[in-house]
Symmetry: C2
Subunit: 126 residues, 2 copies
Amino acid sequence: MVTKQLSGLPEDADLRRADSLAREIFSDVANKWALLIIEALGERTLRFSELRTEVEGISHKMLTQNLRMLERNGLAVRKVHPTVPPRVEYTLTEPGQALRATVDLICGWTHQHLSHIESARRRFGS
Amino acid sequence: MVTKQLSGLPEDADLRRADSLAREIFSDVANKWALLIIEALGERTLRFSELRTEVEGISHKMLTQNLRMLERNGLAVRKVHPTVPPRVEYTLTEPGQALRATVDLICGWTHQHLSHIESARRRFGS
DNA sequence: CTGCATCCGATCAGATACTG
DNA sequence: CAGTATCTGATCGGATGCAG
């Protein structure tokens, strides 16, 4: 699949590095705000302030922080228009879009199982 | 779709309650440990101690906490065998299985885009 | 408008110890 | 083995103020 190494061990090291990287990405992405931002962006391009209102409940700080993370991982691109006042737009990249598709499924799952979960909670006693 | 109310406003109230419930469930589920536990359980039944080694890096405390949450939301069932030493097994319910399918997709996505993300990080400068 | 820094309280998460 | 409780440090997350 990938370029083979000639010496004996390096490919194992590569696997381990890939695993830890995967875990790191998973941790970055598997959090409430990141997923909600990705869901909000969807197919469109949104400004910082639009995202602020779109992803309701998110604070200025968390929005900035998560957008930086998405940009760093190449899931979203940040485009600055040199106007005054400044205008900054965020768009999902192709990998970002692909991830959004799976987030959509989670949202669908949530609504589909609302009543089951609600009754499970009543049974659980809280 | 669902039972209509006769008076004017209650259905709106229902919608708002459902939305806030959906957000709550989303927050419960959209976190690293919960998703990793769901992924580990997969189709099989696992003991507490097995889960502890299976989802690596998780602490005793976080495992307990997240298992209670999954149980409360009806995503997993907890079966206690009254033996000595005690034996407690966890299994995903049907809704849990459905969610796991989407988590699988996220895992697939992660590995599929590893190299893209790795190079994006280099470009980003860290 | 967007972004960064700071302060501060709340929550998270690990380590440890103790029960059935 | 499984679970609970407690203590402690780390991180999260909101509010505010300031800069480009």
